[in-house]
């Protein structure tokens, strides 16, 4: 099958798949950011048990292969009477992994703040929650833009786990498998999908750089 034929036959499927990938990426990343902040707050809070929980979360979900985690989510969660549809399973898997890495990004952002500013904040009478919300999180967010840009791209690529479960509509990697089982698209079918990933990543990178230049903190 040539390029023209591939596109004329499956163009609509590719477009739908690209949008599905975008949608899953956006939803996953939004949750990743919220969860990353939460886990990071746990990891720096004054209570040792909570810090341990945060650290454990990161160690666990940073070190499990995505496919293995997906299998656990799909097959193990129903035993706990949590039955999710396949698309949600993929998003949950992506979020669990992504937020472990996201928290690491925030931690390195926090480490650039320096204990001095925290002490200054304490000595004007700010409480832990105020120090977090006014001093630490804003600075951590602003210095984590570039690593978070990378994470967004990684989250997008991780949604390709969706090709391992029956999704409807399928995402970008799943659609290639679908096409290749019905026709002989071969490497070309993959390349079209790759173009979708690469193009999206390029835009993400560009926007990320712009945001970083705008919000970067002078030191």
């Amino acid at each position: 099958m040539g390029l023209v034929e591939l596109l004329s036959t499956y163009g609509q499927d590719y477009a739908t798949a690209l949008f599905t990938t975008w949608w899953m990426t956006a939803v996953s990343f939004a949750v990743v950011m919220v969860l990353s902040v939460g886990i990071t707050v746990l990891r720096v809070c004054p209570l040792r048990p909570l810090r341990a929980v945060g650290d454990l979360y990161v160690q666990v979900f940073r070190n499990i292969p995505g496919v293995a985690l997906l299998i656990i989510v799909v097959y193990a969660l129903p035993n706990l009477r949590v039955v999710l549809d396949y698309r949600t399973c993929v998003i949950v898997t992506t979020v669990l992994m992504g937020s472990a890495f996201g928290s690491e990004n925030f931690m390195s952002g926090i480490n650039t703040i320096g204990v001095g500013q925290i002490e200054a904040a304490r000595s004007i009478g700010l409480r832990f929650s105020q120090i977090m919300s006014r001093i630490v999180i804003p600075q951590a967010l602003r210095s984590a833009v570039l690593p978070m840009t990378n994470l967004l791209i990684a989250v997008m690529l991780t949604t390709s786990l969706g090709s391992q479960v029956p999704l409807s509509p399928q995402e970008l990697t799943g659609i290639v498998s679908y096409i290749n089982t019905r026709a002989t698209g071969g490497i070309l079918a993959f390349l079209i999908a790759a173009l979708g990933y690469v193009g999206t990543a390029a835009v993400i990178g560009l926007v990320g750089n712009r945001i970083d230049r705008k919000v970067r903190i002078l030191r």
Binding site: I113, G114, G116, Q117, E119, A120, A121, R122, S123, I124, G125, L126, R127, Q130, R134, I135, P138, Q139, R142, I217, L218, R219
Partner: protein, 252 residues
């Protein structure tokens, strides 16, 4: 409480304060009181525990035993009560520690808005007055990294003053500054002292100590070795340890 006892209660009092860093005994039975309006200068060789002592006053350093009292009330150990007590004590650090992501004006208004519950407009008005008082009014809309060290330290002083503190601690406020910027910061501190602020100043600036201090405390090896008026201490030190120290910083 009668007028009389309020006058007599020290603003800051340390009773039998002890602290270790691991095996190192950094504070040994420190007893100290600072009266209202008094300017206390703490000097001593590095490693003598003077910064640590200064930082125990608002519990940036915890203590192993003893008591820290603010206006006769024991310093709370943690939580809201501690935060509320800290809000009443100003602290100026060696490394300025301005909030890097906030403008100069926001640095000064943050405490009054968040902790004292002032509205933005009146907090900003006060902040601009304070910034003018320390001579950095034109810098209000810049961020800390755009200011010189001397300017940043003056902003840090304004940030503390905005909380209307009962007393202010200065932990080597000029040690990180280039020589030409030291005086601009000391001038602000002299003016504060003249205005009646209760101050604890850890410093190596002997000229400042002589001119401004009501009392000099000399620390070595975690102990208060000697205390007295600046004239007594600088001209007639009583202990060998103090004499050695004064000799070692003289004559260049």
């Amino acid at each position: 409480m009668t007028q009389h006892t309020e006058q007599d209660t020290p603003v800051i009092e340390l009773r039998h304060v002890d602290k270790h860093f691991g095996d190192l005994h950094v504070l040994r039975d420190i007893n100290l009181s600072v009266a209202r309006g008094e300017v206390l200068v703490v000097i001593g060789p590095s490693g003598s525990g003077k910064s640590t002592m200064c930082r125990t006053i608002n519990r940036l350093e915890t203590i192993d035993s003893g008591e820290v009292l603010i206006e006769g009330v024991p310093l709370p150990e943690e939580g809201r009560e501690l935060a509320a007590m800290r809000a009443e004590l100003g602290m100026v650090f060696q490394s300025f520690n301005l909030f890097a992501h906030k403008t100069i004006l926001e640095n000064v208004t943050l405490g009054p808005i968040e902790v004292l519950g002032q509205d933005r407009a009146s907090a900003e008005k006060t902040a601009r007055e304070l910034l003018a008082r320390v001579g950095v009014a034109e810098q209000a809309d810049k961020v800390p990294a755009q200011l010189s060290g001397g300017q940043q330290q003056r902003v840090a002083i304004a940030r503390s003053l905005a909380m209307r503190p009962k007393a202010m601690m200065f932990d080597e406020p000029t040690s990180a500054l280039d020589p030409e910027m030291i005086n601009e910061v000391l001038d602000v501190m002299v003016e504060l002292a003249r205005g009646g602020m209760t101050m604890v100043v850890v410093t190596h600036e002997m000229g400042f100590a002589r001119r401004v201090a009501d009392r000099v405390v000399f620390m070595a090896d975690g102990r208060i070795v000697e205390e007295g008026t600046p004239d007594e201490f600088f001209d007639h030190p009583k202990t060998d340890r103090a004499r050695e120290f004064l000799d070692s910083i003289k004559g260049h």
